[in-house]
């Protein structure tokens, strides 16, 4: 059970727990203000005047978050007050950068309004999740259906013909009637829910140690099954969809959730070994993996080919320096696909080291609040789910930003909330809705003196070892 410092009920026994909705509203207003100010700066710098559409954008964007806030206030009053503002500022900054890139290259079409539309759809999903999932524990009942759904979403692009599923060499898309979605983003959430339910179920067995080797308590051989299955699925994704990112994401999340569930660090070691093995085999066997790694080691050696994008990204970051070129002052459009995969490079170029570091800190706050939720929530399923979802955001950001900045090989993943792309944005709003739901359960007082009518919904105490 959580310690006294992290249990809100222990802090003030017998008194009402503050909902902190006011804090959330204030922070949201701040996030909206930052976004609108940044929009104005972009327009003033690039065109020298403010567009009339800016008013529409401002009203729309404000309305979105006001709506989200009101829904949270009504249906998840004890939710963590930092989650939503973090998401708002990231989404807003993403919209600003996409708009800025729209102006830089008018031929590429206006993507910012489309992204705003996706954000709206995303918030609708956010609201829907809060309304439908009134208790996160209900999700565990649908774990196996979600697993099936997740696997179908994950493997669909591999089965579909390349004309529908392949963009820039990765088979991770479904393109129908002008819309393109990346089902992998939704599969990620489905699978995290499944992992959480499955691991809560099986964690006692998986935590059984058979023998101790070099201070490490190794699990029994027959319990290796699940981790091998996920490993195999990851490899298959890598091979058939040429999607290093999803593969890495999926496996990383599973191993960490396995570790949290069982409290056995031997699972981390086994995971690392499997990863090392898989990576070595993939490197030996597949040309596209080799090419990725070679490009990563020295992007400038492949400047005229596969290294061009990362090289341009590094040029942009280097040119940005400490303070950046200022919004609208740089040339972020020099990086191919800057709006989706390389939006972080655009931010680093125009807002500099300080801006990019600030964005990373916002992610850090988001993730750590999610993990804190996981710490204080009472039921093991909620704990694992919150941990899995939070780590998914962190891991995805690390892999993407690592790729953009040359720390890791480039993957096809998108920066959550910031990057242009409907599926990523909508799916991640769904992810945050789940986190908000769990954090509400975590902070809600067990005793019914605040909302007596909701007694039946109050989570049951689960006594843990």
């Amino acid at each position: 059970m959580a310690g006294p410092t992290t249990d809100p009920r222990a802090a003030a026994p017998g008194t009402a727990v503050p909902t902190r909705r006011g804090t959330e509203a204030l922070l949201l207003a701040f996030a909206v203000a930052i976004t609108l100010a940044a929009q104005c700066i972009v327009d003033l710098t690039v065109t020298g005047s403010l567009r009339p559409e800016l008013a529409t954008f401002g009203i729309w964007f404000t309305a979105l978050w006001t709506g989200a806030h009101l829904v949270v206030r009504k249906f998840a009053p004890y939710a963590d007050p930092l989650l939503l503002p973090c998401v708002a500022v990231l989404t807003g900054l993403g919209l600003v950068m996409i708009h800025r890139l729209d102006i830089a290259d008018p031929d590429s079409g206006a993507d910012a309004p489309v992204q705003l539309l996706w954000a709206t759809i995303g918030l609708l999903l956010f609201v829907a999740v809060l309304l439908v999932v009134r208790d996160h524990r209900l999700l565990s009942r649908y774990a196996y259906i979600l697993m099936l759904l997740g696997l179908v979403l994950l493997t669909l692009p591999a089965i579909l013909p390349a004309s529908i599923s392949e963009v820039n060499g990765a088979k991770i898309w479904i393109r129908v009637a002008g819309f393109s979605i990346q089902p992998g983003e939704f599969a990620k959430i489905c699978l995290v829910v499944f992992f959480a339910a499955y691991l809560v179920d099986k964690r006692d067995v998986l935590a059984l140690a058979s023998r101790k080797v070099m201070g490490l308590e190794l699990p029994r051989g027959r319990d290796l099954g699940p981790v091998l299955v996920v490993w195999l699925v990851s490899i298959l994704v890598l091979v058939f969809e040429r999607d290093l990112g999803s593969s890495l994401l999926l496996f990383g999340i599973f191993v960490v959730m396995l570790y949290v569930a069982t409290e056995r660090s031997s699972w981390l070691v086994i995971g690392l070994l499997l990863f090392a093995g898989g990576a070595t085999i993939a490197y030996q066997a597949f040309g596209h993996v080799q090419a990725r790694v070679d490009t990563w080691l020295d992007p400038f050696a492949y400047y005229d080919g596969s290294g061009y994008q990362v090289a341009q990204s590094l040029f942009g970051l280097g040119t940005g320096g400490l303070f950046g070129a200022g919004l609208g002052g740089g040339r972020p459009d020099e990086v191919p696909i800057a709006k989706s995969d390389f939006i972080a490079a655009a931010i680093g170029e125009e807002l500099g080291l300080f801006g990019l570091a600030a964005v990373i800190m916002v992610y850090l706050v988001l993730v750590e609040r999610g993990l804190r939720t996981s710490l204080i929530v009472r039921d093991p399923f909620g704990k694992l789910l919150a941990a899995g979802l939070s780590f998914a955001v962190a891991w995805q950001l690390f892999v993407v930003l690592g790729g953009v900045t040359g720390l890791l090989p480039l993957t096809g993943l998108t920066t959550p909330f910031l990057a242009y792309g409907g599926s990523s944005l909508v799916a991640n709003f769904g992810l945050v809705a789940l986190l908000v739901r769990i954090s509400d359960a975590a902070r809600r007082p067990a005793t019914p003196h605040v909302a007596p009518q909701r007694l039946t919904d109050a989570p049951t105490e689960v006594v843990q070892p």
Binding site: A2, V256, Y259, V260, A261, E263, S265, Y303, A311, L314, F315, G316, L317, G318, T319, G320, G321, L322, G330, R331, E334, G348, E349, G352, L353, L356, A357, I360, Y363, L364, V367, E368, L371, R372, S374, L375, P380, K383, L384, A387, S390, F391, A394, W395, L397, F398, L401, G402, T405, G406, L407, Q464
Partner: protein, 480 residues
């Protein structure tokens, strides 16, 4: 589950710290390198929106920016075409900048910190920021004579003011017209670049400072300097056999055309240099030893990896010397000895300047946009490889080369020219060298002339070019 959760939270912190450390590395440590990479077109596009400073020689701009009507607001122009291409380099939308355009880019572009105050005031006055001018040390008469002399050849001329190191002429042929690469018509630029690329050698490769070649007999000046510093005098009689037996092998080393240097098989050092006697210098090199030769060469600038004028100068080297055979061949400037024409000129300049080697430099002054001087190069001493006494004796010996020996073609009526020829064997026809300075008693100019695969001798191919360059400079000085 809380203990592993806390560990996961800490791991996330570590991962994000890694990201932030990495962007610090890229955006702070590597920032300048990435910003100034020639392939980074960002800064370039930004720079084209400002009036770039001019590169000036003797009061005339040899590179300047003129306003245009197209997207890039200023076009870079080079009024003299290919005359100064080896110095200015080019300034291209596609291929970035080279030469002075690159080396002095911050000032030309107006981003130099020394223009900071002015940039701030531009911000308030709404004046378009512009770059400063770079004034070069070049002398137009020297540059023109050098280019005219090299016409039709692959080669280079470097002329220095021996007392300061100021570069008076720096020519490389074949040359190219930088205007073609600076054009805003990108297809035309690509085509021009493809043509340059296809040529052999690529005219953009700078023969004067970037390419290294075997020096042949001009290297004997260094061996002579080592000898004089080690107790020899110009009159010391040294062995000069018709054929020199290489100590470590059955091979032999002969004189040019296989002739005898002296019927007696020995001759004074000054005579050996005057007729460029191979066998004498091979023996002399072995007698002096590798260390003496190597130390002397390094004193004259060999092995310097950081020489920038401010264009980077390739490092001249002796190469590894593994045995007596190689030392013998090194002593006559063959084997693995590799020098740039710039290095060759530095040898002549050090002898001319009483043994003191001055650091060569191209940039005389940097001017702010309002033409006030914001920086001026102070001549800098690089080293003193030989004493003034040795320099005097070497001058005497080199004067003899031009008066009585292989360098007669460099002679000018009424003026004493000191010099040394070089004819270097290589895979193709011989390279032809001449280094020298004049007037011998009060040196005003030191030159190195290099003709790649000229096929003749240093004396008949390169010495006349040196004479024209020296003559042009002395005439121009008189006219002023």
């Amino acid at each position: 589950m809380n203990a592993p959760l806390r560990r996961v939270a800490i791991s996330v912190l570590v991962l994000f710290t890694l990201l932030i450390v990495n962007i610090n590395y890229i955006q702070v440590v590597r920032s300048e390198e990435l910003r100034e990479d020639g392939r980074n077109t960002r800064v370039l596009a930004d720079e084209y929106s400002r009036e770039r400073g001019a590169i000036v020689v003797a009061g005339e701009p040899i590179a300047l920016s003129t306003p245009t009507d197209d997207r890039l607001k200023y076009l870079r122009q080079y009024p003299q075409g290919g005359l100064y291409a080896a110095v200015t380099g080019f300034y291209s939308v596609i291929y970035g900048a080279t030469g002075i355009e690159r080396a002095e880019n911050p000032l030309l572009a107006g981003t130099d910190d020394r223009l900071f105050v002015r940039r701030i005031s531009d911000l308030f006055t709404g004046r378009d920021p512009s770059g400063g001018d770079v004034v070069l040390t070049l002398d137009p008469a020297v540059q023109q004579a050098a280019m005219a002399g090299l016409e039709g050849q692959v080669g280079a001329v470097v002329a220095l003011d021996p007392s300061t190191g100021a570069i008076l002429g720096l020519a490389s042929t074949p040359t190219y017209d930088p205007n073609l690469l600076a054009s805003h018509d990108l297809d035309a630029v690509r085509e021009a670049a493809a043509q340059l690329e296809a040529a052999d050698p690529d005219p953009r490769s700078n023969q004067a400072i970037s390419q290294r070649y075997a020096p042949g007999s001009i290297f004997k000046v260094i061996v002579s300097a080592a000898a004089l510093e080690n107790g020899y005098t110009p009159e010391t009689v040294v062995p000069a056999p018709q054929v020199f037996d290489l100590p470590q092998s059955d091979g032999t080393l002969k004189n040019f055309n296989g002739s005898a240097c002296d019927p007696s098989g020995q001759q004074p050092l000054i005579q050996a240099l005057t007729i460029s006697c191979n066998t004498a210098f091979a023996q002399l090199g072995i007698d002096l030893g590798e260390d003496a030769i190597r130390d002397m060469a390094e004193g004259f600038g060999f092995g310097r990896e950081d020489l920038a004028i401010p264009l980077d100068v390739a490092t001249s080297t002796l190469g590894e010397i593994e045995n007596g055979d190689q030392l013998a061949r090194t002593s006559i400037g063959q084997q693995d000895v590799q020098v740039t024409p710039m290095q060759a000129a530095m040898i002549a300049a050090a002898v001319a300047n009483d043994g003191v080697l001055m650091k060569p430099y191209l940039v005389d002054q940097l001017l702010a946009p309002d033409l006030t001087v914001i920086d001026e190069t102070d001549p800098e001493e690089l080293s003193q490889p030989i004493s003034a006494r040795t320099a005097e004796q070497l001058t005497e010996m080199m004067t003899s080369v031009v008066t009585n020996g292989s360098g007669r073609a460099a002679g000018i009526r009424g003026i004493q020219v000191a010099g040394k020829t070089g004819t270097a064997e290589n895979e193709g026809p011989d390279h032809n060298w001449f280094i020298g300075f004049a007037p011998a008693d009060d040196p005003q100019i030191a030159v190195a002339v290099f003709v790649r695969n000229g096929g003749g001798t240093g004396g008949d191919t390169s010495a006349p070019i040196a004479r024209q360059v020296i003559q042009a400079y002395l005439d121009a000085q008189e006219g002023r």
